[in-house]
């Protein structure tokens, strides 16, 4: 790191240097915008604290987000940052914010929406609360399913749907998705300079948040395949999916997880989902919504219908997600 307090802007500069054809940066506001934005589609934006890379700058581009608004590490972006993004990407069809269920983010996005509405910008809001760690649905935090909502609603917007439709689809993804995380090591926030919790070598923090908030339970170390079972069971029970249902699965590391563990765990999750008779329409493995250098893993599943499947497989071109649809017809 260079100067403290500059790390987010410098990181975003790096991202834009790597993908200059896809995205651009407003360095004053730390906002990443899609380059070459369409004027006749609903704009989709999101934002939140930094430290979760590649979320969300890595998902800006064709078929996904029009803007990603980056706060300081684990800190909500400010109202004016968000308002600036809304003004920049606004179209006649309006601006849909798809964000995660955290107090600061909600207050700031809502406050920005009020300001944008004064400018006659149509705005709508969808809040993800897919983390099953907490019992109370109202309290549930937003996690990985948010990214799938960006992919699927992003494709809907790209198709030219009106904001009410795009919002309905984003909400449908949230309603049909669940996520759960565990940590094997804590993560350290640069500003705080200390670890978020202490963990013994043989313990797993179960139901961890994406900011290294302590989980809901501390369990003894179990083999990867057993952990896969415990986590998937939790998701399947809460989402109430059954044999024969089609799902999309996301298995990811949390920033500091070695590839080897990610891939072994991915194998274990897929095997277990298979054993349950769930049909995996598609899967993602890697890192999507991380917690700085935390070692751990998150699993998410989304129960899909024909609409979600179609939109999930629609083209996208972002730093991280590059979807090239399989066409059964070739023309030349």
């Amino acid at each position: 790191m260079n100067k403290p307090g500059e790390e987010v802007r410098e990181m975003l500069e790096g991202l834009v240097m790597a993908f200059p054809e896809l995205i651009e940066l407003d360095p004053k506001y730390n906002n990443i915008y899609r380059k070459y934005r369409k004027k006749d589609k609903v704009a989709i934006i999101t934002g939140g604290g930094s430290g979760h890379e590649p979320a969300y700058g890595g998902f800006v581009g064709y078929g996904m987000l029009d803007a990603a608004i980056a706060g300081a590490v684990f800190t909500s972006p400010s109202t004016m940052q968000i308002y600036q993004a809304m003004k920049t990407v606004a179209t006649e069809k309006g601006v849909l914010s798809v964000i995660m269920n955290y107090t600061g983010d909600k207050i700031n996005f809502k406050a920005a929406m009020k300001l944008a509405e004064d400018d006659s910008i149509k705005t709508e809001l969808v809040i993800s609360n897919d983390d099953v760690a907490l019992k109370d649905k109202q309290m549930r935090r937003g996690t990985t399913i948010t990214v799938l909502a960006h992919k699927i609603a992003g494709a809907a917007a790209e198709e030219g749907m009106e904001i009410a439709e795009v919002k309905r689809i984003a909400q449908k993804v949230i309603d049909n998705g669940r996520d759960i995380g565990v940590a094997l090591t804590p993560c350290s926030v640069p500003a705080a300079g200390k670890y978020s919790f202490e963990l013994k070598e043989d313990e797993i923090e179960f139901g961890i948040g994406i900011h290294g908030e302590p989980g809901v339970q501390r369990i003894k170390y179990v083999p990867s395949a057993e952990l896969a079972k415990i986590m998937v069971d939790k998701l399947v029970e809460d989402l109430n999916v059954k044999k024969g249902d089609e799902i999309i699965a996301v298995v990811q590391g949390t920033g500091g997880t070695p590839y080897m563990e990610k891939l072994v765990f991915y194998r274990d999750v897929m095997n277990y989902l298979n054993g349950l008779g769930l049909k995996t329409y598609a899967s993602w493995v890697g890192e999507f919504l991380t917690s700085i250098e935390m070692q751990g893993t998150r699993v998410a599943i989304l129960k899909v219908d024909e609409e979600m499947k179609r939109l999930f497989s629609a083209p996208a071109l972002t730093p991280v997600v590059k979807t090239i649809p399989m066409a059964s017809t070739v023309m030349s």
Binding site: S78, T103, K106, K110, K114
Partner: protein, 202 residues
């Protein structure tokens, strides 16, 4: 008497002075049940206001002040307080002077906005516990000065009442029962902001 742009300019200036004077106190209070950033944050916000208070239209004065606060003091309080100023401006658009009744409407709108954005209600140990009694005591009957003094008295009591409350929203709620016994920093700030009002009556 009625409330014009001059009154609101004065109100914001007094608020700025009070907040900057008490920066340390507010940070200390936030260090007891928050994240110790409150005084620094909000006084930076108000400092930025000082060069911004030129408009002669009530709504614009409040709108610009609100946006500046939001830009410069981006914590929970800054965002809610800034949004509240913008909302107060919004409903006074076009008016050159406000009656006390209209002032009351303005604060009611402010409260509605804060409730909408932050989801807090009475008794949760926030600055709303100062705004509610203050606004409720803004009545048409009686001398404006007397009314305002009564409202400020109620606001002060509201502030003090937060000491015994358990925070059930915002960062202070993480402290649970341990938040009891401490004044809410946002409530103290709100009282300091309102306090100047009576010095702005012509």
């Amino acid at each position: 008497m009625n409330f014009d742009a001059e009154f609101f300019r004065c109100f914001l200036k007094h608020a700025s002075t009070e907040i900057q004077k008490n920066e340390r106190l507010l940070t200390d209070l936030d260090s007891e049940i928050g994240d110790s950033d409150f005084g620094v944050n909000i006084s930076r916000g108000f400092r930025a206001l000082d060069k911004d208070l030129n408009s002669n239209e009530i709504w614009k004065l409040l709108d610009e002040a609100g946006k500046t606060i939001m830009e410069e003091a981006s914590g929970t309080f800054g965002t809610l307080f800034g949004s509240m100023l913008v909302a107060m401006g919004r409903i006074s658009k076009g008016k050159k002077e406000l009656t006390i009744n209209e002032l009351k409407r303005m604060f009611e709108e402010a409260i509605k906005t804060v409730e909408e954005l932050g989801g807090a209600k009475r008794g949760q140990k926030t600055f709303l516990d100062v705004l509610y009694p203050f606004t409720e005591n803004l009545e048409e009957k009686g001398q404006v000065e007397t009314v305002l003094n009564r409202a400020l008295k109620a606001a002060e009591e509201g502030m003090n009442s937060t000491k015994n409350m358990v925070a059930t929203i915002g960062r202070a709620s993480y402290y649970g029962e341990n938040s009891r016994g401490h004044l809410d920093p946002g409530a103290v700030a709100m009282y300091l902001i309102l306090k100047g009002i009576k010095d702005c009556l012509k």
